[in-house]
Amino acid sequence: MITGHLPVIAVMTPLLGAILCVLTRSSILAWGLTLIGAAIPALSSLIILVQVLSRGMLSYHMGGWEPPWGIEFRIDAANAFVLVIVSAVGLCCAFFARKSVDEEIPQSSQPLFYTMLLLCLGGMLGVVATGDAFNLFVFLEISSLSAYVLVAMGAQRERRALTAAFNYLIIGTIGASFYVIGLGLIYMLTGTLNMADIAVRISTLGDNTALRMGFAFIMVGLSLKFAMFPLHFWLPNAYTFAPSVVTAFLAGTATKVALYAGLRVLYTMFSIGFLFQTETMLYVFLPLGLAAVFAASITAIFQDNVKRMLAYSSVAQMGYLLIGISLANIGGLMAAVLHLFNHAILKSGLFLAIGCVVYRTGSCSIAAFRGLGHQMPWTMAALVIGALGMIGMPATVGFTSKWFLVLAAIDSGWWFVALSIVAGSLLTLIYFGRIIEAAYLQPAPENSTITEAPFLLLLPVWLLMITSITFGINSELPVTLARAASQALFLDPHNGLPPQVSP
C-alpha cells in the first residue's frame, strides 16, 4: 500500500528532485521539478494529517528495521500539522520562485538554486517527520547547509548577502554542534537515540548533572537555530539580503522547524515533569520571550529596509511563541502551535508581497513604497491584509492566536504577560503603519512607471492572504488541529494507544 509509505515519500521526493535538478541545465525544467518536488510532499502531508487524526500516531520503520535499532519516522498530530505547514509554505514559495528568481539570480545558477531549495525543503520535512534524535540532526544540517547557500545567492543583487550567509553559517554550525554535544551526553546516559526510547530511559534515570548539561546544550543549540532573542543576530541580515523567495521560504519554515524540534526535545524526550525543564521555561523562556517581543518590535520600528523590519518582526513573533510555551500549560502550548501556523502563513505571505515589490522596483526600502498603493493596488492590498493579521485584527488568523495567548496567560494568572502580549501588538501597528502610510498617503516619485506585479507572483501571495482571512473568520479547523497537536505533545506519549506500525 502506497499510503503506508507516505512519511518517507514526503521527505524523499524533494531530496530526489534535488538530485535531478543538479543534472538539468534548463532553469524551467528545474522549476518544474521543484514544483513537483514540493507538491508531492504537500499532498502526502495532508493525507498523513487526515490519517493521524483519524487513527492516531503513525510509526514508519525505515528499511523495516525495528526501532530503537533502526530509524523511525514517528508522526503524531503535532508533527503532521507542522509537516502540512512547512510543505504548504514550500509549495507557495516554489510557485512564486519562477518569475522572482529570473529577476534576481543569474540564468546559469538557477538550476543550482532550485536544487538547494528542494534540499532545504526535504531537510526540513525530515526534521519534522523523524522520531530519531540523531537523524533529526542530519536532516537539520541538510536544511541548514542548503539555507546558507540560498542566502548567499542574494549576492547577485547585494554583495552583503555573502557576509550575511557566512554569519548564518557560523552561528548555525555552532548551534548544530551544541545539539550534537548535548545529544552525545544523552546517548552516554541512555545508550539510545530514538526519542521515545530516550524518554522511557530518562524517566528512570532521575535528575543528574550530565542530563542537565545535555538538556542545556541541546536547547541552546536549537535556540540559535530558531533565533531566540539574544541569539537572533544572524537572522536580520540573512533575511534582508537573501533573494526574496528565500526570505519568504525561510521566514515561514526554518525557525518554525527548529522550534518544533525544540518542542520535541522539551515534551517528548524530557517529559514536563523534569524539574529543570520547568525552571528553564519560567526563568529563561519567559523573560527572553518578553524581551524579544519588545526589543525586536521596537528595533523593527526604526528600520528603513522593509525586509529587515519584517525580519525583526519575526524575532518578535518567536518571542510570542516562547511566551506561549513558557506558560507550561496545555492552553499556552496550544496558543503557541496555533501562532506557529498563523505566523507561517502571514509572514511568508508578507515576504512574498515584498518580493513582488522588489520585482517591480528593485528595492525594498520604505522610500520605494511611496505611491505603490495606487501603482500596485493588488500587492499592497495583500500587504495590508497581512499587516492586519500581524497586528491581530479580528477576522484574520492573527486574532485567534492573540486571543488564545491572552486567554492562556489569564488562565495562569499572569496579568503582566497578558498585557505585554497586547502591548506587542501595538508596536506591530506602528511599524506596519509606516509602510502603509508610505504606500497610500505619499505620492510616487515623479516619472515613476511602476505597474502591478504579474499574476504568477500575485497568486501565491493572495492564496496565503485568503487563507488568513478564511481561517480568521472560521477558526475551527486550525484551532482543532492546534489542540490535537498540543495534546499529542503535552500528554504523556507512553500512555496512549500503541502506534500503528507500517514497514
Binding site: 491581530g392 479580528p394 486571543w403 491572552v406 486567554l407 489569564i410 497586547v422 498617503l441
Partner: protein, 504 residues
Amino acid sequence: MSATLALGLVLLLPGVGAVVIGLLHHFPNIREAMSLLTASLLFITVLYLLNAHLNADPQQLQLAELLPGLPVVLVTEPIGLVFAALSSFLWVVISAYSIGYMRGMQERRQTRFYIFFALAMAGVMGVAFAGNLLTLFLFYEMLSLSTYPLVVHRETEEARRGGRIYLGILLGTSIFFFLPAMVWTWWLAGGLAFTPGGILTGKIEGTAAAVLFGLYLFGVGKAALIPVHRWLPAAMVAPTPVSAFLHAVAVVKAGVFTVLKIGVYIFGVGFLSQTSASEWMMWIAAFSMVMASVIALRKDELKARLAYSTVAQLAYVTLGVSLASPMGALGGALQIVSHAMGKITLFMCAGAIEVAGGKKYVSGLRGLGRKMPYTFTAFLLGSLCIIGLPLTGGVWSKYYLMKGGADAGEPILLAFWILSSLLSIAYLMPVVVRGFFLPSPAENEPQQSLEPETSKAVPETIREAPLWCVIPACLTGILSVVLYFLIPSITGFVAPVLEGGVPQ
C-alpha cells in the same frame, strides 16, 4: 422579505453599495445617486426590522464562527434598533450634504471617499446589531479601519499626523484594554452574549470588577473619555461631512453605544449598583464632562470647539451608565439620539460656513448670520438641543440623567451637570450672537481673527451656502426640535430592557 434576510441586508447593502460606487468611478452623478440610494435602502431596511421587532418578532442571524463557541451573530434588540435607525437616517441626510460639500470644496478622490463612507456604515450597522461582545468588537475595529482613509482624505502632512493619532488611539485602546477585558470576561463567564441583566453576576466582585469596568471604559476609545479623547480633535482634519457624520454620529456614538451595551448587557445595571464597580468611573466621567467643556470654551476654531463639545457630551453617556441606575442608562440611551441630531446639525452648519464663507474661526463670523440666515438658524436650533433646553430633544436625556443621579444618591453630580450645561451655553451661543448681532467687518478694517489670509479665496460677497448643504442642516435642525415630541415613545421602547436588568 423575511426579517432574517433583512438582518443580513444591513451589512450587505453598504458593502455592495461600496463596490458599485467604486465601479461608477467615472460617472460622478450616477455615483452620488447610488450613494443616496444605498443610504435610503438601508434606512428602509432598518425601519422594516424595527417594525418586525415591535410586532414581537425579534430576529437573530448567525454569520460565522470566529472562535470555537464564539459566533458572529446579529440580533435585533431595542437599544441597537434605535441606534441603527438613527445612524442610517443620518447617513441619508449626510449623503445629500456630502454632494454639496465635496463639490463645493472641489475635493479630490471623491470615489474613495464614498466607498469608505459606505464601508464605515457597514461597520456601524454591525456594531448596532451585534449579538455578542466579540461581534461588536469585530465591527468596532472594522469601523476604526474604514474611517481612517476618510480622516486622512486630504493626504497632507497634517492629515497624516491626524490619522496617526486617530488610528493609534482607537486601535491602541481597543487592543490594549478592550481585548484583554473581553478575554477576561470570557474566561470568567464562559460566554460573551449580550444578556439582559448581565453575565457577570456572581463571577467577579470587589476591586477586580471595578478594574474590569475601567478596562472596558478606557478600552472603548471611541467613547472619548479624557484622557483617551485626543483622537477626536485630531480627526477634525477630515472633510466636514466626515467630521459631522463619523465624529458626531457614527464613530463616537458607536463608542458610547458600546459602553451602554457593556453596562446593560454584560455587567447589568443591577450588578453594577450592587458591587459599585462603576463608582470610580463616574467621577472620571464627570471630570471629563466639565474639563472638555472648559477646553471647548477656549477654542477659536469652530470645528475644534465642536469636537471638544462632543467629548463633553459623550461623557454624559458614560456617566449615565456608570450611575448604575436604570434611569441613568435610559438617559444615556436618549443622549445618544438627541446629541447625534444636535451635533450633526452644528457640524453641517460649520461646513456650510466653510464652503460659503471660507471661515473656520469663531472670531471671524461677525455679521455672517445676516448673510446666511438659514444656516445660522439651524445652528441655533442644534445648539439649543445640545444645551438641553426645553422644547428640544436634548432636554429629555438631561432630565433622565439627573433623575438617575438623584436615584443613585449622588446629588453632587447635579452640580456637575448644571456647570456643564452653563458652559455649553457659553461656548455655543457666541457663534450665533456674533453671526446675527455683531456688525460685519468693514472693507478695509484689519482682520482681527486668526483666519489665515491664504486659506481660501474669500468670495467677494458671501451668501447662503449651496442648497445641498443648507437643506440637510435645516432638516436636522428642525428634527432636533421634533425629537422633543418623539422621545417619550423611544423611552417606552427602550425602558423595558433597562428595567428588566434590575434583579429583584
